[in-house]
């Protein structure tokens, strides 16, 4: 994924904790911030599912409708 440069304004104490974690882990500040955002926004969730699950589309639809209806409260 290409990187983009941006400017953020954040609380000083948050930046201090970013720098502490960066120093502890040996990563740049930007990597610490990016990892936190990816985790918070769950950006890796679908990527993990999609790298593993490749059910044909019509079978996926049939299974999904089946699961919805079989577990529905009446």
């Amino acid at each position: 994924m290409p990187k983009a440069r941006t400017t953020l304004t954040i609380d000083e104490d948050v930046l201090r904790w970013v720098k502490i974690r960066a120093a502890r882990t040996g990563k740049p500040d930007s990597a610490v911030i990016e990892e936190s955002l990816r985790r918070d926004l769950k950006l890796d969730l679908f990527d993990a599912l999609w790298s593993r699950n490749d059910v044909p589309e019509n079978e996926a639809a049939a299974l999904a409708v089946e699961a919805q209806h079989r577990t529905r409260r009446r």
Partner: protein
């Protein structure tokens, strides 16, 4: 554009990386439309993820994370207290129609009972929803 993604679309998106349901979820993540959810829809999604056949392909932790993501990042609307503009053959689907109507949203589904209503309300399969998103750009 606003859309309610039926529970079956959200589940399909987790099962099939290359399908139109997954592409619809990607379009939401990329800001292509406003996704409407409600407490009842999220509760139905949680129950459906416990279906034994799904447990083989999506873990309890992953399904929990997905529901959390929707709670936080989608637009959470109250469960509708008005009747739907049209009724499904399956009364259990009516809350989805009412939710979409009360939020001026398209209902995106793969459920044949709901898709038969497409002449009476904007109910669309995921592939057509993607077309609408593209046309709205």
């Amino acid at each position: 554009m606003r859309a309610v993604l039926d529970v079956n679309v959200l589940i399909s998106a987790t099962l099939s990386a290359r399908g139109s349901s997954a592409a619809t979820v990607r379009a939401w993540r990329d800001g292509g439309f406003d996704l409407i959810v409600s407490p009842k829809l999220l509760a139905e999604l949680k129950r459906a993820f416990n279906y034994p056949k799904l447990r083989k392909v999506i873990t309890a932790d992953e399904s929990h994370q997905l529901v959390q993501l929707l709670e936080r990042e989608a637009s959470l609307a109250p469960d509708p207290d008005q009747p739907p503009p049209v009724h499904s053959r399956d009364a259990g689907d009516d809350y989805l129609l009412a939710l979409a109507a009360s939020n001026d949203a398209v209902l995106v589904t793969q459920d044949p009972d709901l898709l038969t209503l497409r002449e009476q309300y904007p109910v669309r399969p995921p592939a057509e929803c993607l077309e609408m998103i593209r046309n709205a750009d």
